[in-house]
């Protein structure tokens, strides 16, 4: 065990896997010579050489399709999206080729491909660089969607994703790259499709992923001082989703709040609400609430950007609402 940053954990995962398996290659913009736009692939060109760490031109559709084609015939490529905002340019290859190849070919051509990179908002990156698009990928059968929130999760989940024989959309967060945590050394693998209860409690279930986990945990800590025990669950894999863990938690607490960065309409949270209401209906004491990003393109101005994403107070308000309680006010004795 050692303390590492989230980005170091990703770097470690990729290196370990590439040392283990020669069919794994990494390609993307600036991954090699530049050491990675966010330094996630730092040092990898030096270790593995230009045949295995490939700098691509700005050609998302092209190199993603290249990754799919290579995966069909024996390689296990890792395609880096500099940010997932750019993945939109590659959507045809992700959805029409990667996700569907196995099915359309009647099982003949699996696509063991990882498409990874940071998603969601950063700081004042404005409308076209701040999007949380995981709901789009979750929508497509044939894709897996993984979003780690901690350094340890990042390592364990990336290693597993690389070994998975399916196209995995692995969405990191630029804001989380510098966060530190204990990361197990060596062969540390976290299975996909298993949620992680990051904090146990019995009064309310708070479900969040990626960057929003820290918001959820902050809110939970504050609420604890008011006597509310919040259970915080990180699904980690959004598709396939560990519904069972979420349902069991809500059966225990009778109420749920979902926190996500993405836009509200048809977001990931909406799907979770459906699962909970249909499988835990008789256990619900209040409607399930979502705290989501505002239904707007991300504005540039700092204050507006702050308003556009969930913060601790939003989460606490939602928790109080599902508990039918008046929040403790600042001037209460």
């Amino acid at each position: 065990m050692s303390i590492r940053t989230y980005r170091e954990a990703l770097n470690q995962a990729m290196r370990e896997e590439m040392r283990r398996d020669e069919t794994i290659v990494l390609m993307g913009e600036e991954v090699g010579f530049y050491q990675g736009a966010y330094k996630v692939s730092k040092g990898m060109l030096e270790e593995f050489g230009p045949m295995r760490v490939l700098d691509t031109p700005i050609t998302e559709l092209g190199f993603t399709g290249l990754g799919v084609g290579a995966a069909m015939v024996g390689l296990r490529p890792i395609v880096e999206m500099m940010t997932f905002n750019f993945s939109m340019l590659a959507l045809d290859q992700i959805v029409d080729s990667a996700a569907k190849m196995l099915y359309m070919s009647g099982g003949q051509f699996p696509v063991p491909l990882v498409i990874r990179g940071p998603g969601g908002a950063g700081h004042q990156l404005a409308a076209q660089h701040s999007q949380a698009l995981e709901a789009w990928f979750c929508h497509v059968p044939g894709l897996k969607v993984v979003m780690p929130s901690t350094a340890a999760d990042a390592k364990g989940l990336l290693k597993t994703s690389i070994r998975d024989n399916n196209p995995v959309i692995f969405i990191e967060s630029e804001v989380l790259y510098g966060t530190r945590g204990e990361v197990p050394e060596g062969e540390y693998l976290i299975p996909l499709g298993i949620a992680d209860i990051k904090r146990r409690g019995k009064d309310v279930t708070l479900i969040a992923h990626s960057r929003m986990i820290s918001v959820a945990l902050d809110a939970a800590a504050d609420l604890e001082r008011e006597g509310i025990e919040v259970e915080v669950i990180d699904p980690r894999t959004l598709r396939p989703l560990d519904s069972e863990t979420l349902v069991q938690s809500v059966k225990k607490t009778n109420r749920a709040v979902i926190v996500e960065e993405g836009w509200p309409f048809c977001g990931v949270g909406a799907q979770i609400v459906d699962i909970l209401q249909s499988r835990a209906f008789d256990y619900l004491d209040a409607p399930i609430l979502r705290v989501t990003g505002a239904d707007v393109p991300t504005p540039y101005a700092k204050n507006l950007e702050h308003l556009a994403f969930p913060d601790k107070q939003h989460v606490m308000d939602a928790v109080n609402k599902v508990l039918y309680r008046q929040p403790a006010s600042a001037d209460a004795p």
Partner: protein, 461 residues
Amino acid sequence: MAVKILMPKGSDTMTEGKVLKWLKKEGDQISTGEAVVEIETDKVNMEVEAMGSGMLRKILVQAGKVVPVGELLALIAKPDEDISSLVKSEGSAGAQPPAGSTVPAPAPAAAAPLRPPTNASPVGTDVAPVPHAGPAHAALKGGATPSAQEPANGGRILASPLARRMAQEMGLDLNRIAGSGPAGRIVRQDVERAALLAVGGRAARVPEAGSAGAHPPAPPPALPRRPALVPTGPEFYDEPLSSMRKVIATRLVQSKAPVPHFYLTIEVDMGRAKELRESAKALNPDLGLSYNDIILKACAAALELHPQVNASFQGEAIRYYRRIHLGVAVAVEDGGLITPVIRNCEGKSLQDISREAKDLIARARSRKLNPDEYTGATFSISNLGMMGIEEFSAVINPPEGAILAVGAVAEKPVVVKGQVEVGLRCRMTLSCDHRVVDGATGAKFLQTLKQILENPVYLAF
């Protein structure tokens, strides 16, 4: 467009209502919101308001008639509007509901809103158990933030799925639970609160049907709302038995297991006993005659007349005691129970018994009794009335044949000669060892006891 006045559905269970009094007559001009007629539901009297304006053209159901919910009572329309078709199709004024119909007519959407009559007894806040009547919620005492301005939602009870399930599992009626959630939604804490009150006693129950002027009970007072507490630490702790508890446990198991208990309950009018107490107090304030004293003496008297109850099962024989030694169950300070004995009650006066009881009880509480003072009872009395217990059944102290459990002396509505009055009643339960005392014997004993208590003059003899 004619405005219909229909018999409203005043509660979930209402199937028919009575027209009490028309507040307007045919030809009167009515404006929206005006009260037109007073009706009687299965619970309250209330006024029905017009949903629109116009002239009261036709009254179809006269005062005094009972009609099904949803029945057309009257029509409001323009003076020259043709309402003949409406009158014909709905004109079953005063028709009785078909015999045996059990399904209540659904509340018609156009039903006038309910409002309690202004001149009735305090009903205002007591309409609470009809949770779908929106305005009533504003008057909910202890309701946190129900959205009082929500319109009536067509007769549906709003409750969270969890609350519904809990209510069903606990056998609670959602109609009788006030909701503290938005729009009066019943949520878990409301059901929990209701459950506590249901267990807490009959005081929360609606009075018997038929009592005129009865109104639904006041909503329960607000309990402080706090998040559910989770006890921390181990699930339990063991406290070693005190020697007293060991004895109690052993003896009562000895009693309960082999002894075939059965129980007879009787309710005694304590009015005269009360008078006796008051007279005695007037004569001698220092005496401090309690109900228990009176009951002890009455038991002694009754046992003289029914010696079969003053008996004990001895395996091969039934022992009938010639003396009456009464055991009085006393709760001891640190927990536990002891039964000091008043000996030879057959010869003692009420005053004697009272004095002796006081002394023994005080010494029992402070554990200052001699062994011969708590052994040898032939019959025991246990009284939990001072703790508010209405009635209970006690375990016989072996080797006795019976024990009398006395509940609280309380004021109750009682029916005397067809009228309801306030009476003072006490419920007593005799536990009998069936090997010694059979049902008829026990019943006769209780009848005698009751007679004595209701006519304390017997105690003079």
